[in-house]
């Protein structure tokens, strides 16, 4: 029975499972592209300070708006700073802040969603109303209010972004919990008299985890776009720290004669967003979750 092995798998370690998921993701062209872009950006974020050819904040009025050359590959900006150096450094802050922001979003969104799915009834209704109410506020206005009151430090941005992008996760986690909770294995655990904690931890979380993680990955790319918009408006990263959103905003007015200063950060930002998006999609497919059935935004 040679083909028997198709139907039999052994219990795998977490590491083996993860590597299997990554291999499945990479086996699709779109997944491979997404993963490569994401990995490229992450590596770049780590090594860019060491490989940057120039000082990112060195202002040199004599070098203003130079076209790309052998020395300044992507040219220079309006203050004479090297665009290449600033571009490879420009994703670090955004990546870090949104990564931790997504973790926070996952945590509170996931937990609240599971809680609502579990208790159901009136409490669920009320909580979901509140969440819906928040969903209807234009988030950018709320963010602007928060940063203008509390400043733009990392300690403010991470939880604030995490809060706003967690709302969608609440919905997904709640729906997934709802589906699982009707299954007989939950009834069976309740009838045996397991504690609520044990039921949540052993029976529910393993079955809703995947859907929540996928949603979190998706939110990450949106958060990145949101954060860059904040920077663009001048509420994200403060100068002279290089940041794509900021760079785009600065160089925008000069686009007609110094296109290089704006194209490089745009490519950087959009490739990262596309990379995360494709990765999240491949992740969902590898886990066997059909995202098309999930509610949009």
């Amino acid at each position: 029975m040679k083909l028997d092995s198709i139907y039999k798998e052994e219990k795998k370690s977490a590491f083996a499972k993860l590597s299997e998921i990554i291999i499945t993701m990479a086996s699709r062209p779109s997944g491979l592209i997404g993963l490569s872009i994401l990995v490229f950006h992450i590596i770049l974020a780590f090594i860019s300070p060491y490989i940057a050819p120039h000082d990112f904040k060195a202002i040199d009025p004599t070098l203003m708006l130079q076209a790309p050359s052998a020395q300044y590959w992507f040219g220079t900006d309006d203050l004479g700073r090297d665009v290449f150096t600033r571009t490879i450094l420009g994703g670090r802050t955004a990546l870090t802040i949104t990564f931790f922001g997504s973790l926070i979003a996952l945590l509170w969104g996931g937990l609240l969603g599971i809680f609502c799915g579990l208790v159901g009834g009136k409490i669920d209704d009320v909580v979901m109303r509140i969440v819906d109410a928040f969903l209807s506020i234009p988030w950018i206005l709320a963010m602007l209010l928060i940063v203008s009151l509390l400043g733009t430090s990392t300690e403010v941005l991470i939880p604030a972004l995490g809060f706003f992008y967690g709302k969608g996760i609440v919905r997904v986690a709640r729906a997934a919990t709802h589906d699982v909770i009707a299954k007989d294995f939950i009834v069976s655990a309740r009838a045996r008299g397991h504690s609520n904690f044990s039921i949540i931890w052993n029976e529910i979380i393993p079955n809703v985890r995947d859907a929540i993680l996928v949603e979190g990955a998706m939110r990450w790319s949106w958060m990145l776009l949101g954060f860059s918009s904040l920077s663009f408006l001048g509420f994200g990263v403060s100068p002279p720290t290089p940041d794509w959103g900021l760079m785009i905003s600065n160089a925008r007015g000069l686009m007609s004669f110094a296109y290089w200063a704006v194209i490089a950060p745009i490519v950087g930002l959009s490739s990262l967003i596309i990379g995360i998006n494709l990765t999240a999609d491949a992740f969902a497919k590898a886990l066997g979750i059909d995202r098309s059935t999930k509610a949009p935004v």
């Binding site: 029975m1 139907y7 219990k11 009834v187 069976s188 009838a191 008299g193 052993n202």
Partner: protein, 674 residues
């Protein structure tokens, strides 16, 4: 030959595995469907029967592809046709009724509108003619007052009526060939019998050829002229219906028929070992080899071919069919049940009522339940230690509801649940102590849903062991393996996930988990109805064996009266949450019985062409139990007037100790209706 309507020739369909191997789902199938003939295709899940039926309308499921062969309909090869040309045939010349077709009706469109859509698509009638045709079709599928039905929405019809509408829609294009995939699976017993009778009528009336796909030989036996038995992607037996059922000359069919419980036989049927191999796992030899009782060395190495036996008018795929030619099905051996049920009472339900009604604020505040007409009412049952008592009734009769309250999952409105003669059990989980929870365990219908897909078999069985006995390490492992062996699964199953198990194996794991708690009572809710027939007998036998070893008491819920007959000592018949009849199973299955029991017994489908269902009452679905009088008054064919509508009938005892709740005196009931 012109009277052949569909010709399947050397058809092979398969898929490519992740590793690139070609795996066959259908292996070289050839058969002909004649004009006006009803052919039953029977096989267990995964045998390829639906794939074959779909191919007959030129459809190959996504992920599968045709490897070779053809399906000819009117000398057109459907599998090679363009989808535009196929559209002209599907729905018109060939129609299909898929499983759950009734439930698949669009919920927000009126019945008449939906049939009209089908007519517009599949016929060339103008509006006037279509209008006439709609009521004609509704009439044909025997729906009461077609004019009003046409104006209703699907949810305003019962399951059986929805299924009738689906049949009407399939007939819209006056097809020459009607493909039915499990058209009655999931319907209530009584409804099922009615729908089958309708199909028989339509086959005769319109002369349409039908291909009827089902796992249920009982249903197949009622409709088919010819039967095709499939196993593991091959036709293993094909011939006239009567011959196949009376003299099954293939070992698989032989075993299958033996493993089906019959109404006429008390005791457990013989079980067939093992399960069907997964596609792609057979390398050489007969695919039935490891389950076969008639095999020899030849079978192991050589694959038998389908052989046509002229004098029997049957095709069979077996080297040793001759051994079976003289053996008849009558030699069914039955494992007699020997229950040591004691006189000691283990569980007593007295005056139990359960309500699902939403409670008013005042009642919520006082934490009480008020409902004059609760879902379940006045249940009195005394269950003895070591017995198996069955609760039977149609869907919605409250069987599961009663089990839930016994398990503490649903608060009762009134009444007491007493354990072991002196311990009152609360119907609220929170008020039960761990030991109260341990003594009662549940096994569910659908093993796919009752096992956490993210836990291994080991983790699943460990749960009660850890929870109730605090077992750890070596001792835990030893106990798990011990339990696995008790349910006849080996140690190597420990690290498997539920998705890597067959249905029967999953159910065994669920059984092991229930027994891990060392319970006194196990509640079994339709535990075999999601299983293949050949596996069902094995699970029933296992349950019986475990019960003999451990002295457990079973409360067994099922809609299948033959299964109930096989396993239970006593039966309680429920209608609309009210008891109709309680007694030893031998007596309940004999006259006299309650008019409702008669209806249930009459609707049982037996795999025997000589036993036809007797349809006594209409298959109406009642939403709520009546406020007054007998719960069965709405459907009773023996109703004797006002008394039934006003007064709750009294319990009457028969000589054998069978209790029947009806206004008709026992002596009268004794007179058979037929």
């Amino acid at each position: 030959m012109t009277d052949i309507i569909q010709k399947v020739k050397n058809l092979s369909i398969g898929f490519r595995s992740k590793k690139g191997d070609e795996i066959l789902i259908l292996k070289n199938i050839s058969t002909n469907i004649k004009k006006g003939e009803t052919v039953g295709i029977v096989g267990e899940s995964g045998s390829g029967k639906s794939t074959l039926a779909l191919a007959m309308m030129g459809y190959v499921k996504h992920g599968l592809y045709t490897i070779g062969g053809e399906c000819q309909f009117n000398s057109l090869n459907l599998l090679k046709m363009k989808s535009k040309d196929l559209e002209k045939i599907r729905g018109r010349k060939i129609a299909m009724i898929p499983q759950n077709a009734g439930q698949a009706l669009t919920p927000n469109l009126k019945i008449g509108y939906q049939i009209d859509e089908a007519l517009q698509l599949h016929s060339d009638l103008d509006e006037k003619e279509r209008e006439k045709k709609i009521s004609e079709l509704l009439n044909k599928v025997r729906l009461p007052s077609p004019e009003t039905i046409a104006l209703r929405y699907p949810h305003e019809l019962s399951g059986g009526q929805q299924q009738r509408v689906a049949v009407a829609m399939a007939l819209a294009g006056t097809p020459d060939l009607l493909l039915l995939d499990e058209p009655t699976t999931g319907l209530d017993v009584t409804t099922q019998a009615h729908v089958l009778e309708l199909l028989n009528f339509i086959a005769k009336d319109t002369g349409t050829s039908m291909v009827y796909v089902s796992h249920d030989l009982g249903a197949i036996a009622q409709v088919s002229d010819r039967i095709i038995v499939m196993y593991s992607g091959e036709i293993v037996l094909e011939g006239p219906s009567r011959d196949i059922l009376k003299r099954p000359i293939h070992p698989y069919t032989h075993g299958l028929l033996k493993s089906i419980p019959k109404l006429s036989l008390a005791g457990l049927p013989e079980s067939m070992p093992g399960s069907q191999p997964q596609p792609g796992t057979i390398q050489s030899g007969c695919s039935f080899f490891d389950r076969c009782n008639f095999s020899d060395d030849n079978c192991k190495n050589n694959s038998p071919q389908l052989e046509f036996l002229k004098d029997l008018n049957t095709s069979v795929r077996c080297f040793n069919y001759e051994k079976l030619v003289n053996e008849s099905q009558a030699s069914q051996t039955i494992n007699k049940i020997k229950n040591k049920s004691q006189d000691k009472e283990i569980l007593n339900l007295s005056e139990v009522s359960i309500s699902y009604a939403k409670q008013k604020l005042l009642d919520q505040i006082f934490n009480r339940i008020s409902d004059d007409n609760p879902t379940v009412k006045d249940i009195n049952i005394n269950i003895k230690k070591g017995e198996t008592i069955a609760l039977v009734g149609e869907s919605g009769s409250g069987k599961s509801t009663i089990l839930k309250s016994i398990a503490g999952l649903l608060r009762t409105k009134d009444g007491l649940i007493r354990f072991d003669e002196n311990r009152n059990l609360s119907s609220d989980l929170k008020e039960r102590d761990p030991n109260d929870l341990r003594i009662i365990q549940l096994i569910f219908q659908n093993p796919d849903e009752s096992l956490n897909p993210n836990h291994t078999v080991e983790e699943i069985i460990a749960q009660p062991l850890k929870l109730y006995f605090g077992l750890k390490g070596e001792e835990l492992k030893k106990n798990i393996i011990d339990l696995l062996q008790k349910v006849r699964l080996g140690e190597f199953y420990t690290s498997r996930y539920p998705r890597q198990l067959s249905g029967g194996e999953k159910q065994r794991v669920a059984v092991a988990r229930a027994f891990a708690a060392k319970p006194d009572i196990i509640l079994c809710d339709e535990v075999t109805s999601a299983l293949d027939v050949s596996v069902q007998a094995a699970v029933l036998n296992l349950l019986q064996q475990l019960k003999e070893d451990f002295g457990t008491t079973y409360i067994f819920v099922s809609h299948d009266l033959a299964v109930v007959r096989a396993i239970s000592d006593r039966v309680a018949v429920l209608y609309q949450g009210r008891l109709c009849e309680v007694g030893p199973s031998n007596d309940v299955y004999k006259f006299p019985s309650h008019p409702y029991t008669e209806v249930l017994l009459g609707a049982v489908l037996e795999p025997d062409p000589d036993i036809k269902p007797k349809l006594v009452a209409e298959d109406i679905v009642e939403e709520r139990p009546p406020e007054k009088g007998c719960s069965f008054q709405g459907r009773c064919s023996r109703i004797i007037g006002d008394i039934c509508k006003k007064e709750i009938p009294p319990w009457q005892l028969t000589d054998s100790g069978n209790a029947i709740r009806c206004h008709i005196p026992i002596k009268e009931l004794q007179k058979e209706q037929f």
